[in-house]
């Protein structure tokens, strides 16, 4: 089921992160199977029997120690190097993104759009454009977590964290949840916003109408 494994990948970044995940998972699964098979084999093959009462007189083997120190170390180096690339890819900011301010509150998300539109728990994202989130908190620490983007940053009081996304256009019209994943009190489980992927033109139109409505209601 869709709820037992990774969710959809809205961005190229999500594809890359999943690629890294599957690579690490493959390596790890190989060693998992290796260890479990050796464990079970040794338990069964060398079990105590009438004939097998005494274990062999073996204290160790320096060559083996060398191998099983070096091989895991090398594999971990490869994993580390593979990860570094994605870190810098995520950290390098795109030029001229659409900036959406994300503000955590006890217990809702506030989103401020470039033209001043301000929503609660209603996140709209234009597809095919670079969008940057500037994330902060009004009170305690929250966690701004977008699972379909494979990305999160804490929302901290007095500090701004950032990440950016570029959603593939084929997801226009779909909605996703925006949970808070850093424990923030009794409202933590219900601090969930909604994210709607829109086409660029729909997004701009929505911003304009929303702007009109918000200034009307604040003007009256």
């Amino acid at each position: 089921m869709g709820n037992s494994w990774l969710p959809v990948q809205l961005t190229q970044m999500a594809h890359n992160v999943d690629g890294l995940f599957y690579f690490v998972l493959a390596v790890v699964t190989f060693f998992f199977v290796l260890v479990e098979v050796l464990l079970i084999t040794f338990l069964v093959r060398y079990r105590r029997t009438k004939r097998n009462q005494v274990g062999a007189n073996v204290h160790g083997n320096n060559k083996l120690e060398f191998v099983w120190t070096l091989v895991p170390a090398l594999i971990l180096v490869i994993m580390g190097v593979a990860s570094v690339h994605d870190v810098y890819a995520a950290q390098t900011q795109p030029a001229k993104p659409v900036v959406i301010q994300v503000i955590g509150h006890e217990w809702y998300w506030e989103f401020k759009y470039p033209n001043g539109v301000d929503t609660h728990n209603d996140l709209r994202i234009p597809a095919g454009e670079d969008v940057r989130f500037d994330i902060t908190s009004q009170d305690v620490i929250h966690g701004f977590y977008l699972a379909p983007m494979r990305m999160q940053q804490d929302a901290l009081p007095g500090r701004e964290t950032q990440f950016w996304v570029d959603v593939e256009p084929k997801y226009v019209g779909q909605t996703f949840l925006v949970p808070c994943d850093q424990f923030c009190g009794p409202g933590h489980p219900t601090m969930v916003g909604h994210m709607t992927i829109m086409s660029e033109s729909d997004f701009n139109q929505w911003l304009a109408t929303e702007k009109q409505q918000q200034s009307k209601s604040s003007g009256s």
């Binding site: 037992s4 260890v35 990305m151 009081p157 933590h188």
Partner: protein, 541 residues
């Protein structure tokens, strides 16, 4: 000399003199063990409340209650169960015996450590009456500063007392191991459990003060108007996280390195073989203890650090997997060409510990990678990881150790049937409870939530069923151990034909441990001979 030492042993003493006033490391070890098992039941009860709440997406309990439950669960399990049981319980009972000493270096300070530990536990219990802490065992400000009621103040008080107990205990172990070893026991002849306790004691000594700093400043921010963590006044909540994790990552190793020591004692005995790679296992513990202090920020990759700043911590977190995998391979090699007997402690140590713990090790490598942590941080994947380490690792090993040294401590044997039943309930319960949490985490379920998206219900219900299996297993194990402490069949000094010094004295050992201090000529992992085993089988009662 021996007569003088034995004289007080023969006379009957009142309960107060026997236990409350005792400075005997074995009695103190038993008191640590019994107290910790009581708190294990309590911490388990909180776990069952947490899992019961998650049976339905809307949650069974109000969110505030749920928050208190998971906070108490982790606090009790870490500070009142696993750390004191491994160091205070196993460490106290075994270290002087295994190094051939009559007691710890500072017996009165040892008793003080126990009573401080008990006091910290009582403070945690008090909070159940007056209002429990609700900020998680991490207690991050600003939430933990704004949270009202006495819960967090009691939590801080309890932690301070437990920390003091830890530091005193650590000093005691370091001095005991460095200064009181029997003649001939060089460092490289010490039992591997003693090696692991030495490393653990150093970690406690250097790590615990950072925790004390974190929670003292937290208390000051709560009540004395300071602004350490108030960003509006120039403070910084990240300071707390740095201090907290500077202790609490090593704390994970404080909870697993002694467990590694126990495994290294159990496997060779039941494989009837010398341990494979004695030096590699001993020195890899030292490497883990040292490296453990350089990985703390892997808990903070998404907490406002620049992303690339996580890279050095990612590297150190991956490097620390190397000494751990060295141990795993040496343990497997110990069983290779052995004569493996499926005793209850061996089942817990082999299939139970190795079979489960490696899953926690591997998921640790996954969350150590910065880009993967950006996705999995604060999801159930992390909950799965830590429970495979602390339950599949530490608790499974505690059970191996309890079933291994039980005949030494009590002089009697438990029911093996119930022992196997307990093992299988634990082994199956562990996988059913904790494995699905990986899947929930990958699918994006955040941790520490009292209610959740209905899409996650199926696996949550599976986890809850698993937790009930573990609860049942715990009852079976504890009943078996308690019931047979006075009623089980008597055993001789060395029912397993083990090599370390505690098995060379009576079961239970006399108050002064050894009539004659042994002289050590080699490490305890010497090969077995057929004649020796045949002889042991004949003399067994």
């Amino acid at each position: 000399m021996a007569a003088v030492l034995e004289a007080p042993y023969a006379e009957r003493r009142s309960f107060v003199r026997e236990w409350v006033l005792t400075v005997d490391h074995k009695k103190i070890g038993i008191m640590y063990g019994v107290t910790a098992l009581f708190f294990f039941l309590l911490g388990g009860l909180f776990a069952l409340l947490v899992r019961t709440d998650l049976l339905v997406p809307a949650g069974v309990f109000p969110a505030q209650d749920y928050n208190e439950f998971f906070t108490m669960h982790a606090t009790v399990m870490i500070f009142a169960v696993i750390i004191p049981l491994l160091t205070g319980g196993f460490g106290n009972y075994l270290v002087p015996l295994q190094i051939g000493a009559r007691d710890m270096a500072f017996p009165r300070m040892n008793a003080l450590s126990y009573w401080l530990y008990l006091a910290s536990g009582i403070v945690f219990l008090l909070s159940m009456v007056s209002g429990m802490p609700d900020a998680g065992w991490t207690s991050y400000p600003p939430y933990s500063v704004t949270s009202t009621g006495p819960g967090i103040d009691l939590w801080i008080t309890g932690l301070h007392i437990a920390g003091l107990s830890s530091i005193l205990g650590a000093i005691n172990f370091i001095v005991t191991i460095q200064r009181m070893r029997a003649p001939g026991m060089t460092l490289n002849r010490m039992p591997l459990f003693v090696w692991s306790m030495l490393v653990t004691a150093y970690m406690q000594l250097f790590g615990t003060p950072a925790l004390a700093g974190a929670i003292t400043t937290l208390l000051a921010d709560r009540h004395f108007g300071t602004v350490f963590f108030n960003s509006a006044a120039g403070g910084d909540p990240m300071l707390y996280q740095h201090l907290f994790w500077f202790y609490s990552h090593p704390a994970v190793y404080i909870m697993i390195v002694p467990a590694f020591g126990i495994i290294s004692e159990v496997l060779p005995v039941f494989s009837r073989k010398p341990i494979f790679g004695y030096h590699a296992i001993a020195y890899s513990s030292v490497a883990i203890g040292f490296l453990g202090f350089f990985v703390w920020a892997h808990h903070m990759f998404v907490a406002g650090m620049q992303m690339s700043e996580g890279i050095p911590f990612m590297i150190s977190s991956m490097i620390i997997a190397v000494p751990t995998s060295v141990k795993i391979f040496n343990w497997l090699a110990t069983m290779w060409r052995g004569a493996v007997e499926y005793t209850v402690p061996m089942m817990f140590a082999s299939l139970g510990f190795i079979g489960s713990f490696i899953i926690g090790g591997f998921s640790g490598v996954i969350v150590a990678a910065v880009p993967l942590d950006m996705q999995l941080h604060d999801t159930y994947f992390v909950v799965a990881h830590i429970h495979y380490v602390l339950f599949g690792g530490s608790v499974m090993t505690i059970m191996a150790g309890l079933h291994f040294w039980y005949p030494k401590v009590t002089g009697r044997m438990y029911s093996k049937k119930l022992g196997y039943l307990g093992f299988w309930l634990y082994f199956i319960g562990t996988q059913v409870t904790f494995f699905p949490m990986h899947l929930l985490g990958l699918a994006g379920m955040p941790r520490r939530i009292a209610s959740y998206d209905p899409a996650f219900q199926f696996w949550n219900d599976v986890c809850t069923v698993g937790a009930y299996i573990l609860g049942l297993g715990t009852l079976v194990i504890i009943y078996n151990l308690l019931y047979h402490a006075k009623r089980g069949p008597k055993v001789g000094p060395n029912p397993w034909v083990a090599r370390t010094l505690e098995w060379q004295t009576s079961s239970p050992p006399p108050e002064h441990n050894f009539d004659e201090i042994p002289v050590v000529t080699a490490n305890p992992y010497q090969p077995y001979t057929a004649e020796e085993l045949a002889q042991a089988a004949q003399s067994a009662p």
